[in-house]
């Protein structure tokens, strides 16, 4: 089987995905990705004419079936405190995070 996702590409994907993997996880995941790609290559076997449009969801939404836009009125959430209470670390109504990576501009 042609290996499409090389260790180098894989490392880049892990970085994009904001993950960290130990060696055995990485081996398993890269193997599975390549075996999924083999299945995905089935798609190359069919003629897809250039004029075939994409379908981003199956059922078309017409004017009649699309819900109308709601009036543009602010509605205060009644759940704000319950939602904030889920944050692992907070300071009043702020959520606390470690240093945000940044570059000092000269």
């Amino acid at each position: 089987m042609a290996e499409e996702i090389t260790p180098q590409i894989f490392r880049h994907l892990v970085e994009l995905a904001a993950l960290e993997l130990d060696e055995s996880e990485a081996d398993y995941l890269r193997r599975e990705l390549n075996s999924q790609l083999k299945a995905i290559r089935e798609l190359e076997a069919i003629e897809v004419a250039a004029e075939v449009p994409i379908t981003s969801h199956g059922v078309p939404y017409t004017e009649a079936t699309s819900p109308g836009l709601r009036p543009d009125q602010p509605e205060p959430s009644t759940h704000a405190e319950a939602i904030l209470a889920q944050a692992p670390e907070r300071d009043g109504r702020y959520i606390v995070v470690p240093d945000i990576p940044h570059t000092e501009l000269g």
């Binding site: 379908t55 889920q86 944050a87 959520i95």
Partner: protein, 531 residues
């Protein structure tokens, strides 16, 4: 184990309740008793050695909200005692797949990363079911973030088992939903279907599972996997209950702009009208397909399991006898591309939806020292996600990367159009087939054994081979019990119809139930109840 109130369908329970023959509290207690008998220890994320009793219990529930359920049941009983009107699901025990938010309860998605998350509000379908009087017993297990077809990938172990054969998986991802309903641990369950996650476990566990049309039921409060495919829907013991439940859940919702503005009919009204004059199609493309050979693991063109095929053909015979016209040879040539296209589309959407889990706003956060925010993201996600979410995120990243996007993602979305066109042609009233529905098997095989596929992400995905085309196309589908194979594992058949044709599918399903009501397999009970 003797049959009890919790083994009755919802419509019968509501009838008895209204007639004063029973109470919501009695129904609830009988359900809780059954759970104590068959469910075993609660699944947890803490690794522990397997125990002997694990193999003889179902392990459906992650959370049981007993006190909340008792309050709901008492409210129904108080309303009845005061002579007030109660809802169409009054007192009916409901198990909610743990991918929906239920206010004040842990809502985990079967993942470590959401283990500590307590939902601040309830999902719209849950809210509507509870408003109709349903009594929420608790939250049931699933594949992590719904990523699987066996329930083995949940971070909460021991994994659920199939009540008909405890060595087998219940299917997935709504596996514990189907298992709980089959074993009398709940009368109804709320599931979701993205590639077959309602219909495949319903088939494996011998219950009814309905995937509504995309947009028929609101997704507000559903933890998202693939937003262009996810559909909440009912898992029930019979067709009438599915009709009752869908009627309560369906319809527009101001919180979900994809919930279609299409009126909701009374799905129970026409159930007994029969099938005379309806055109039901059989497609060779659903009987013989390319999928991984169970022995060699290679992708081979092969027929579906002969016992499953025989059950579908028998069902066609029964429906023909009831007056339907069977149309053979319906061409659905793009069926076989459903899984390859799904590997691309669903992964891109999953990667996008899973980016919100970052250890900052809610859920698991890495507690050790970190240098900066990015390291916090990486360490939290590495510990919070299991292997299957990681795999889906990575594949989503790959096929949507700029240099591959056209070859993979764009192409998959065009193939999706071709799959949709197969259905449009089949159902076109002035087309060659003019079908009211297509009749297929729900799954190429009956339930497989635990451990047989888990770990092989390609073989596992192909369990959804016959169900995923309807998700791509957005059309509704229902899986119905259609017999047992020689190992007494349930066989499911599937009806697929045009957009918003749920009423017709339910009517055909009810007709099939009536035509087979005296069949020996209808009297069989899941083996877990044989003690």
């Amino acid at each position: 184990m003797t049959s009890a109130l919790n083994d009755l369908p919802a419509h019968e329970l509501v009838r008895r309740l209204r007639a004063g023959e029973t109470t919501a509290s009695a129904i609830l207690e009988s359900t809780l008793t059954r759970i104590r008998q068959v469910d075993g220890r609660r699944p947890t994320t803490v690794p522990s050695p397997p125990e002997a009793e694990d193999a003889t219990h179902i392990h459906a529930f992650i959370t049981i909200t007993e006190e909340r359920a008792r309050r709901q049941a008492r409210a129904v009983d108080d309303a009845l005692a005061a002579g007030r009107e109660v809802g169409p699901l009054a007192g009916v025990p409901l198990a909610v797949k743990d991918i929906f938010c239920v206010e004040g309860t842990p809502s985990t998605a079967g993942s470590r990363i959401l283990e500590s998350f307590v939902a601040p509000y309830s999902a719209t379908p849950v809210e509507r079911l509870e408003a109709a009087g349903a009594v929420t017993i608790g939250k049931v297990n699933l594949d992590e973030f719904t990523f699987g077809s066996s329930n083995e990938s949940s971070a909460f172990q021991p994994a659920p088992r199939n009540p008909w054969d405890l060595a087998c998986v219940p299917g997935g991802s709504s596996g514990a939903s189907a298992a709980a309903v089959a074993a009398g641990e709940a009368v109804l369950s709320l599931g979701t279907d993205t590639a077959g996650s309602i219909r495949q476990p319903a088939a494996f566990c011998g219950v009814v599972g309905l995937k509504p049309t995309y947009g028929r039921v609101s997704r507000y409060g559903l933890i998202a996997f693939a937003s262009s495919l996810d559909c909440p829907g009912p898992v029930t013991r019979d067709v009438t209950d599915a009709a009752l439940m869908l009627r309560v859940m369906a319809g527009p919702d101001r919180h979900d702009a994809t919930a279609a503005a299409v009126s909701v009919p009374d799905y129970t009204a026409g159930l007994d009208q029969g099938v005379r004059g309806l055109r039901i199609g059989l497609s060779p493309d659903y009987f013989r397909l390319k999928y991984p050979n169970p022995t060699t693991g290679e992708l081979d063109e092969q027929p579906i399991d002969p016992e499953v095929e025989a059950a579908v053909r028998q069902a066609a015979g029964a429906l023909a006898e009831a007056g339907a016209e069977i149309v053979e040879g319906v061409s659905m040539p793009n069926t076989r591309f459903g899984i390859p296209a799904y590997f691309v589309v669903s992964r891109v959407e999953a990667a996008s939806n899973l980016h919100r889990y970052d250890g900052v706003k809610y859920g698991l956060r890495f507690e050790g020292p970190v240098g900066d925010l990015r390291e916090l993201y990486r360490k939290s996600r590495a510990r919070g996600f299991g292997l299957q979410p990681k795999l889906r995120i990575l594949m989503g990243m790959y096929v949507s990367a700029e240099q591959y996007e056209k070859g993979y993602y764009q192409r998959a979305l065009r193939v999706r159009t071709l799959i949709r066109r197969d259905f449009e042609t089949a159902f076109d009233p002035s087309g060659p087939y003019r079908l009211d529905c297509l009749l297929t098997a729900t799954t190429p095989t009956t339930a497989f054994e635990m451990g047989a596929l888990y770990g092989d992400s390609v073989l596992m995905q192909y369990a959804d081979l016959l169900t995923v085309p309807a998700d791509h196309a957005g059309v509704p589908g229902i899986s119905l019990p259609a017999g047992l194979d020689h190992r007494r594992r349930p066989i499911g058949l599937q009806l697929l119809g045009p957009d918003f044709s749920e009423a017709c599918l339910l009517r055909i399903g009810r007709s099939f139930e009536m035509a087979t009501q005296d069949a020996a397999w209808r009297q069989a009970r899941p083996r877990v109840l044989d003690v």
